[in-house]
Amino acid sequence: MKINISYYIITFMTDVHICKIESKIKLIDDVYLITVDNENLAENARPGRFLHIKCGSERLLRRPISIFNTENSKTSFVFDIRGDGTRWLSERIPGESLDILGSLGNGFDICGLNKLNRDAKVIVVGGGLGIPPLFYAANDIVSRGGRVTSILGFRDKKKVMLEHFFAKICDEVTITTEDGSLGILGLATKPLERLLINGGFDTVLSCGPLPMLKSVAALCAEHNTPCLVSLEERMACGVGACLVCACATKIDGIQDMSRVCADGPVFHASDIIW
């Protein structure tokens, strides 16, 4: 797969892979972490890229799920049961295989992370199921010598997950809940504003519900801090051919409909028409 954007041309071998499920862990109610073992899939995984997973022969469309982490030949992802496809996925058991098209998309690295200094200071702001890909990105930044402060937003205490993963690698982890049942009461943007006012960060990465991304983008713009966001849109091909996953963008002054699957899912927040 050739990812062709203005400043990088990178060729990854993207293909359909049959991947054996190594483990399935229930993180919280309705949320699972699945790890699959396939060398070729793991090889082109990058933070912010996603997997297009076939969820049973009766469902025509694959389901896009972000990569949570990779280790050697293993790739893992975290998902919640939202409809019948993800329910099917949650019923798989170790030893079975998944048909995965991947890895796909333009991740955080290509979108700007790999232009950062090695000792960059980065904030990651995640909401709900937008949190998993940020761990992969944070881990990548830290392993290259950078430092990460994370803000993880959840609806309530029962939805809190993955915080220990972040705690291991981040300078600081702030948890917010909408009902105040754990951490700071309110939305993830509240602590973000405080951090941005204090300054000293090179960039902000964000993934989560659209209203959250919108506020994060606005705050970053106000405080002149570069911001990368990972977007979601309904998809068909996942590779850039069908144009169903459109998102309105303005890049270098040119208004367009970009493809979330191939031009994204990670975009410069300033390129999105919010």
């Binding site: 359909v16 469309l61 068909a236 051919a241 191939a262």
Partner: protein, 302 residues
């Protein structure tokens, strides 16, 4: 044994064609396999001016089908000729330019530009359900189909395929109108207009409210319409709609198709068209058939 098919004076090395709008301009799937394996490629629907298409969501799922409302997003015919056609020309496959216009004049002018630019065939989309201003209006009456066909045939120096809408009551009449107006071939079916509603929000899933249904769900309708059109005209037919497997392909050909388009199947499996092509050779040898073109229209009716 031969998979080759002569279609409107053009030789296809095999009868499998990527369907318009599902295959972009070929670049994405070229990363999976050599596009020269395909009999032909119908490119994403082109318009005279660039179009941004409809607002998302543009896709909804349905049992064994999908609804799309892309709305003909494309860079415009000039940008296609400049940036995409040279790439496609690197492959040994038939390049079919799919065009949509708001007016008959737009169709004619695109036909001229694309003929001069050297595409192999022009496919005229008179049936796109996703554009409010035009498109569908041309596809639903025999008279307007005839007018568009005449205008395009007059300007085109390459063969012209008329792509028909399934959203009509009498496909045979429309097929005949296109044939008498000079079309070299027909293709069908385009998508069937459909709608899905989210019961929680009570809103349609597609931002455009309605969209075009494709995929296996439409296959029996496509077979029936190809069969009806084939019975009505002498010109050859590119049959499509829900084809996924080798068996679907054979079925479409028996109904009367000389070429078979594969679209939605690629979203599930990017290799779907090449798997069918590989299967066709086996089918020939297994059934001791010399040439695939011999099965076109060979349905034995009850």
């Amino acid at each position: 044994m031969s998979l080759s098919v002569d279609f409107a004076g053009i030789t296809f090395k095999n009868p499998i064609v990527a369907a318009s709008g599902t295959f972009g301009f070929g670049r994405e799937y070229a990363e999976f396999y050599d596009l020269s394996k395909l009999g032909g490629i119908c490119v994403k629907g082109l318009t005279l001016e660039p179009r941004l298409g409809n607002d998302p969501p543009r896709i909804a799922q349905s049992p064994m089908g999908i609804l799309n409302s892309v709305g003909l997003q494309n860079p415009g015919v000039d940008a296609f000729i400049q940036n995409e056609l040279p790439f496609l020309r690197e492959y040994h496959t038939v390049v079919i330019a799919n065009i949509s216009g708001n007016t008959i004049g737009e169709y004619a002018s695109m036909a001229q530009k694309l003929s001069e630019a050297g595409v192999d065939i022009i496919e005229v989309n008179v049936s796109c359900p996703n554009v409010k201003d035009g498109g569908i209006a041309f596809g639903t009456s025999p008279d307007s189909v005839a007018s568009v066909t005449e205008a395009v045939v007059r300007k085109a120096t390459v063969p012209v395929i008329l792509k028909l809408s399934p959203n009509v009551t009498d496909i045979a009449n429309i097929a005949k109108a296109a044939e008498s107006a000079g079309a070299d071939a027909l293709s069908l079916i385009n998508t069937l207009i459909g709608m899905r509603i989210d019961t929680k929000t009570r809103k349609p899933i597609l931002k455009n409210n309605i969209g075009g249904l494709s995929g296996p769900a439409v296959f029996p309708i496509a077979v029936r319409m190809v069969w009806q059109a084939a019975a009505a005209v002498k010109i050859p037919i590119l049959g499509m709609g829900g084809v996924v497997t080798l068996n679907d392909t054979i079925e479409m050909m028996l109904a009367g198709a000389s070429l078979v388009g594969v679209g939605t199947a690629c979203f599930d499996d990017p290799y779907a068209p090449v798997k069918i092509i590989d299967g066709l050779l086996e089918y020939l040898s297994l059934n001791k058939i010399d040439s695939i073109k011999d099965i076109t229209g060979k349905v034995i009716l009850n």
